[in-house]
């Protein structure tokens, strides 16, 4: 399949897209089209895409929606077209505009969701966005979210992905989040889709000073997934936590790619990504911490721990530190291990079946990430979901009438 099926498609429908979209998004569309048509899909020779065959994931003939969605309006959340401020200086600015996948999104996205938490305002309830993939034909969605946290703003944002129908769904998501000075953002992404779903996510976060940002990405059930998260810490004394967990089995593939840039002195960052792979699943983690010149007193720790339950699983891990300052504290570590035979034997001696013992150990491994989640209700629910997932009972999300 040729890359330029998307180029041809865009040329045919660009006017329709423009009509259904808004000025801010249209303003960046042609530039994105030029980038995408010039570069095409990145090959696995591109370092940050080396674990994912992008062209193959985008090859199928997907239907693409050309009209705006009726996104829900809540206190802090509305369609970008109805933004309560000028978003032109923010839309597609911190996103990596040279990245073809991002460009494809910018080129094809018809609508965007705008989350705006004003100055010194605390969103009392978590803002939850549930994406439910439905339809009777194979569909690609280009989801776009712009988050602006003004100075001193606080919010929890939970974004979930579900699939209601057994079709091939391709999601290409771009999130840009601006965190003003002294703001707090907890952003969660939870994927519980199915084997026929492919997800590309590119998250860009820009932090001012004294920020507290936490991004947690949980891949609980999927087909092929590539999540990228790039954080730029541009103000002093900010703290970033990037956590992730992956449960994958069968032929599932999950690739997490992170970059944290320390631009200025005195910031801290922590990363913890844990994978449990079973059957013939493949996982990849590539994390980079880039400490720029002058970013003294940076404190950073990156950990990627992986459990491969069978010999058929594959895990690729690549933790990288790149440091141009001389007074920093940075660490990175990665482990790939198997289930602990002694623990399995101990449990079996107590009458617990091998199957159940493996389940308990796999769930225990992931627990460390779940327990870092500050939202108690979410944590409790995820404990339950993880247990069900491990038992193979997670095909439908519980309590949801749509799926």
């Amino acid at each position: 399949m040729r890359n330029n099926q998307y180029v041809d498609f865009y040329i045919q429908v660009r006017e329709t897209i423009r009509q259904h979209s808004c000025t801010v998004m249209n303003a960046r569309r042609e530039e994105a089209f030029r980038v995408f048509s010039a570069n095409g899909f990145p090959s696995i020779k591109t370092e940050r895409y080396k674990y994912t065959d992008v062209a193959q994931d985008f090859a199928p003939d997907y239907g693409i929606r050309l009209s705006a969605d009726n996104a829900a309006h809540t206190e802090y959340c509305r369609p970008l077209s109805e933004a309560d401020m000028d978003t032109e200086p923010y839309y597609n600015r911190i996103a990596d505009t040279d990245d073809s996948i991002v460009a494809l999104n910018t080129m094809l996205a018809v609508d965007a969701l705008f989350i705006h938490v004003p100055r010194n305002t605390k969103a009392r309830h978590p803002i939850q966005i549930n994406n439910i993939l439905k339809g009777q034909q194979d569909t690609m969605s280009n989801r776009r979210i712009l988050i602006i946290m003004e100075e001193g703003a606080e919010a929890d944002v939970i974004i979930t992905d579900h699939a209601a129908d057994q079709q091939h769904f391709l999601t290409n998501q771009v999130i840009e989040a601006y965190c003003g000075d002294n703001s707090r953002l907890n952003l969660y992404e939870i994927e519980e889709t199915n084997l026929m779903c492919t997800r590309y996510s590119n998250v860009f976060i820009h932090e001012g000073r004294d920020c507290s940002v936490r991004h947690t990405v949980l891949t609980l059930f999927n087909g092929h997934t590539r999540n990228a998260c790039r954080v730029r810490m541009a103000g002093e004394n900010s703290a970033t936590i990037l956590n992730g967990c992956v449960i994958a089995d069968k032929m599932q593939r999950v690739d997490n790619n992170t970059l944290i840039e320390h631009m200025v002195p005195g910031c801290s960052s922590q990363e913890l990504y844990k994978y449990v792979l079973d059957d013939s699943a493949t996982g990849a983690f590539a994390g980079k911490i880039l400490v720029h010149k002058g970013a003294q007193k940076t404190s950073s720790a990156m950990t990627n721990a992986n459990l491969c339950a069978t010999r058929q699983t594959r895990m690729f891990t690549q933790p990288v530190l790149e440091i141009y300052a001389d007074d920093v504290k940075c660490s990175h570590g990665s482990t790939v291990g198997q289930l602990n035979d002694q623990a399995l034997f101990y449990m079996r001696q107590r009458g617990i079946s091998l199957h159940e013992a493996r389940l308990l150990l796999k769930a225990a491994f992931i627990t460390e990430v779940i327990e870092t989640i500050p939202l108690e209700a979410l944590r409790d629910r995820l404990r339950l979901v993880v247990d069900k997932r491990m038992r193979g009972e997670l095909s439908k999300c519980e309590g949801c009438r749509l799926c």
């Binding site: 602990n340 035979d341 449990m347 001696q349 107590r350 009458g351 617990i352 150990l361």
Partner: protein
Amino acid sequence: MLEIRNLHATINGKEILKGIDLTINDGEIHAVMGTNGAGKSTLSNVIVGNPAYQVTQGEIVFNGMNLLEMNTEERANAGIFLSFQQPVEIPGVSMTNFMRAAVNARYKALGREQLSAGDFLKLMREKRKLVELDSKLTGRSVNEGFSGGEKKRNEIFQMAMLEPDFCILDETDSGLDVDALRIVAEGFNKLRRPDTSAIVITHYRRLLDYLKPDIVHVLIDGRIIKTGGPELALEIDEKGFADYTAL
């Protein structure tokens, strides 16, 4: 209860047990004493079915069942319990979830109804008191952050929960101070029914003073070279194994 005939076993190709014969009747407590590396722990691991060990010859019959044809969990659910010399820490698996999975499996094997969540917690509380195990510990991950003594008490607590017919205490006394030893030993004595049998593996007499074995075996270099009454333990305590290892 348990009948072992001409048992040979290896680990990583090395023969450790070189022909063990042992008969344990209902209600009997047998002590197995011997030097380091004589095969005491191998014997217990082979009885409970540790997959790391290979049985090359011989048989083990437990209440009429051929144990060697059963996997580890089937043996456990048939009523065999090993109190580990070094209990494993299992971070992230809570004592409660672990114990519930084990009790459910055992009850199923016994044909009993599964306990409700409330009854299960009540049972946990009740049995915990027996070995004076701190309630904080049952809220933690399995054995994680437990002291040596707490781990051993936790073993006896699990025994209390699972009500086995046959127990192996593998150096349960090691690492215990005098008070902890008394608590563990008295806990075991309170738990055992008249027909409960046990093998007690130890280097020392102290534990045997509490548990009062009916029969004492001396295991040296993979073979039982002497069997006697409780007085044999006293003799070994005084003279050591020198007389036997010289043979």
